[in-house]
C-alpha cells in the first residue's frame, strides 16, 4: 500500500517533469513509435509474402510422398558368397528396377483407412516428349484419378479452360500446364503427340489448361487419367509410381514417414524435405526483420537514455531537495523510471496503431506479378503475435534505457549539491 502511494507520488512528479519538457518527451516518444511502426510494417509484409509463397508451393506439394528410386545396391553378391574375403568390385552399376510401388492400389486403400490421413492419391508419373510439328519439348505426365488428386491439390480451382472431367471419359486426353500450352501454341481441342521414353508415340487431345502459379510446373507438366498413362507405359492397372498423402496435421509428416517406409518398403519424402530451401529462406528473412527492428529500437532507446540523462543533470538540485524532504533513493528512481515507462508505453501503443495502418494500407495496394499469377494485392499478414512481440520489444528497450539513468539519479549525493 505504501509502495503504491510512493509510486503514485513519483508518477505525479514525473508527469510534471514531462509536461514542462513536452517537446523532448514527444521526440523521445516519436522515436519509439517509429521503431515499432517499422517493425510491425516490415514483419507483417514479409510474413505475408512468406505465407503466400508457402501457400502456393504447399498447395502443389503433398505432405507425404511415397515412391521408388533407382539405387545402387548397398552390398554386392560376392560379399555374401565369400564373407571374410577382401572383395573388390569396380564401378558397380545401379540395378534397373521397376519404379512401381508394390501393391500400390492396396497401399492406397489401406492409407485411406488411417485416421491421420485426410486424402490419398495414387498416380503414375512419367517423363515424355510433347511434340507438335517439328518441335519437341520434354516434360512429365501425371496419370491421376481426378477425384483423388483434386482432394489433395484442389485442381479444379486451377483450371483455366476446358475440363478435368473429360480425362476419365475421353481416352488419350490431356490437361496441360498454361506455360506448356503457350510453348506448344495449343489450346483446348487441339491435338498433339506424346513420345514415351520407350519410344512409343501417342496422339492425344488437349481437353483443358491449368495454371498453378509455379512456373516450373506450369511449363512442363500435364495431367491424364491413370489408365491413359498406364497404357502409354504398357503396364498393368495395378502399376502406380507415386502415392501422395495429405494429413489432417501436417506437422506429423516427418514422424509418419519412417513408419510408412518400413511398413511398405518404399522410398519417400515429407513436405519439409521437399521445401527445405523455401523454409530456410523464411527463417532467414524473419531473422533480418527482427535484426532491423531491434536496431531501430536500440536507437530509440538511446534517445530516451540521452533525454533522461540530460534531464537528470538539469534536475540535480531537485533530486537533492527531494532527498532532503525524505524521498528515498527508490522514490527518486521511480520518478525517472516512470517517465521512461510512459514514453515506452505511449510510443509502443502508437507504433502498433501506425504499424497496423501502414500494413493495412499496403495490403490494399494492387500488385500484379508474372511469377505469382494468383496474386492481385500485396500479401500482408495480420497475426496478433507480431503486435505482442513489438509491444514487448518496445517496453524492454525503454525500460532498460530508463533504468540506467534512473539509477544514476538515485545515486546523486544531495550534500555536494546543497552545499553548492
Amino acid at each position: 500500500m505504501k509502495l503504491i502511494t510512493n509510486i503514485k507520488l513519483a508518477a505525479t512528479i514525473a508527469f510534471t517533469h514531462m509536461r514542462t519538457r513536452l517537446k523532448q518527451t514527444l521526440i523521445a516518444t516519436a522515436g519509439v513509435t517509429f521503431g515499432i511502426t517499422v517493425f510491425i510494417f516490415m514483419v507483417s509484409f514479409i510474413q505475408g509474402s512468406n505465407d503466400f509463397v508457402q501457400a502456393v508451393a504447399f498447395e502443389q506439394s503433398p505432405h507425404l510422398r511415397l515412391y521408388n528410386e533407382i539405387q545402387t545396391a548397398p552390398a554386392n553378391i560376392i560379399d555374401r558368397t565369400h564373407p571374410g574375403n577382401i572383395n573388390l568390385v569396380s564401378h558397380v552399376k545401379p540395378k534397373d528396377i521397376l519404379l512401381n510401388l508394390k501393391d500400390g492400389p492396396q497401399v492406397v486403400q489401406a492409407l485411406q483407412q488411417d485416421p491421420r490421413v485426410a486424402a490419398v492419391s495414387g498416380a503414375v508419373s512419367t517423363q515424355v516428349f510433347y511434340r507438335l510439328g517439328s518441335s519437341s519439348i520434354n516434360g512429365t505426365i501425371n496419370g491421376i484419378r481426378f477425384e483423388q488428386e483434386n482432394a489433395l491439390f484442389n485442381l479444379q480451382a486451377k483450371l483455366v479452360e476446358g475440363s478435368f472431367k473429360e480425362l476419365a471419359t475421353l481416352p488419350n486426353s490431356l490437361v496441360v500446364g498454361v506455360g506448356l500450352a503457350r510453348r506448344l501454341n495449343v489450346k483446348t481441342g487441339d491435338r498433339l503427340e506424346v513420345t514415351t521414353d520407350k519410344g512409343n508415340n501417342f496422339s492425344v487431345k488437349v481437353v483443358g489448361i491449368f495454371k498453378t502459379g509455379l512456373t516450373d510446373i506450369d511449363k512442363q507438366q500435364s495431367y491424364a487419367s491413370l489408365h491413359t498413362v498406364q497404357r502409354f507405359l504398357e503396364v498393368p492397372v495395378s502399376y502406380i509410381t507415386d502415392i501422395k498423402i495429405k494429413l489432417h496435421d501436417m506437422e506429423l509428416a516427418p514422424a509418419m514417414l519412417p513408419e510408412l517406409q518400413a511398413k511398405y518398403g518404399v522410398h519417400g519424402s515429407d513436405w519439409k524435405q521437399d521445401n527445405s530451401a523455401l523454409l530456410e529462406g523464411d527463417a532467414l528473412r524473419k531473422m533480418i526483420v527482427y535484426g532491423v527492428a531491434v536496431t531501430i529500437l536500440l536507437v530509440a532507446g538511446f534517445g530516451i537514455f540521452n533525454i533522461l540523462t540530460m534531464m537528470i543533470y538539469e534536475k540535480m538540485k531537485d533530486i537533492a531537495i527531494l532527498k532532503a524532504m525524505g524521498f528515498s533513493d527508490t522514490d527518486i528512481r521511480w520518478i525517472f523510471l516512470v517517465q521512461a515507462l510512459m514514453i515506452g508505453i505511449t510510443g509502443a501503443l502508437m507504433g502498433l496503431v501506425f504499424g497496423f495502418l501502414a500494413a493495412y494500407g499496403i495490403s490494399k495496394m494492387p500488385y500484379k506479378s508474372d511469377v505469382m499469377i494468383t496474386l492481385d494485392h500485396l500479401p500482408v499478414s495480420f497475426s496478433a503475435v507480431y503486435y505482442v512481440t513489438g509491444f514487448t520489444f518496445g517496453m524492454l528497450t525503454t525500460t532498460l534505457a530508463g533504468y540506467l539513468p534512473s539509477r544514476k539519479a538515485a545515486r546523486v549525493d544531495p550534500i555536494t549539491i546543497l552545499r553548492g
Partner: protein, 223 residues
C-alpha cells in the same frame, strides 16, 4: 530532555587530500531551543549540520536524534526519518521550479501520507497564510521573489510538524528586511510552538538573538 545528542564525532574529507573536518565534537540540543551554529568558513559548521541532517552518513561516532541512533542506518530508513522529523530551509530556496508554491509545500506531506491529499492541501494553505504568502499559492515557484520563496520553503519545512527545523544560512541570501521577517518567524515558532530550530549562520546578529550558540573553530567546539 535532549532532542539531539552528539558523541565523539570525527569526520574526514578525502578530496583532494585526507583532512579532518570535525574533531571529537560532543553536543546536546534541548527540545524547543533555538540554536545557532557559527564559525568561520571552513570551520566545519555546515559539515556538522549535514551530519545532523542524516543526509551525510560517513562519520565516526554517535548521533542520536529523539533517542534513535543514526549511525549505520539504511538509506530508506533515514529518508523516512527525515520525512517525519526534519524540516529543511536552505540559503538558496530550492523550491521545485515547475511546481506551484502550494504543491511544493504539499510534497513532503504527500510523501508522508499521514493525511488525505485534501487535508494536506488545507494544511498547506494554512501554513502559507501563517507565513503571509497565501496569495502566491497557485503561482509557479520560479515566478516568486526571493523573500516569498524562502517563506514558502519554511512552510514546506513545517508541513509535517517536524521535531527539528534545520537551516543552512536561511537568511544568507535575503535583504535585511526579508531576513528580519524570516528571523522573527523562527523566533516565533520556537517560543510559541516549542519548535526546535538549528541553523548555521555567519550573521552575528542572528546568532546573538538565539537561545544557544555553538561556535566551531577548526572542527572543535569553542567555549
Amino acid at each position: 530532555m535532549n532532542l539531539i545528542e552528539v558523541r565523539n564525532i570525527n569526520k574526514y574529507f578525502y578530496q583532494p587530500t585526507k583532512m579532518q573536518v570535525l574533531n571529537n565534537v560532543d553536543l546536546d540540543i534541548e527540545k524547543g531551543h533555538f540554536v545557532s551554529i557559527t564559525g568561520k568558513s571552513g570551520s566545519g559548521k555546515s559539515t556538522l549540520l549535514y551530519l545532523l541532517s542524516t543526509m551525510d552518513t560517513d562519520f565516526d561516532g554517535s548521533i542520536r536524534i529523539n533517542g534513535e541512533e543514526m549511525q549505520g542506518k539504511r538509506n530508506r530508513w533515514l529518508a523516512d526519518f527525515r520525512n517525519h522529523h526534519i524540516g529543511f530551509v536552505f540559503q538558496f530556496h530550492y523550491l521545485l521550479p515547475e511546481f506551484t508554491a502550494l504543491r511544493n509545500v504539499m510534497l513532503p506531506a504527500l510523501k508522508l501520507a499521514r493525511y488525505t491529499p485534501a487535508e494536506i492541501e488545507h494544511r498547506a494553505m494554512d501554513l502559507l497564510q501563517l507565513l503571509g504568502v497565501e496569495a502566491q499559492a497557485n503561482k509557479r515557484a520560479s515566478l516568486l521573489s526571493g523573500g516569498q520563496q524562502q517563506r514558502v520553503a519554511i512552510a514546506r519545512a513545517l508541513i509535517n510538524e517536524p521535531l527539528i527545523i534545520m537551516g543552512d544560512e536561511p537568511t544568507g541570501n535575503l535583504d535585511s528586511q526579508n531576513a528580519a521577517i524570516v528571523f522573527d518567524l523562527f523566533r516565533q515558532l520556537s517560543s510559541e510552538r516549542g519548535q526546535t530550530i538549528l541553523t548555521v549562520t555567519h550573521d552575528d546578529d542572528f546568532a546573538r538573538r538565539s537561545d544557544k550558540v555553538i561556535h566551531l573553530v577548526d572542527g572543535r567546539i569553542a567555549d
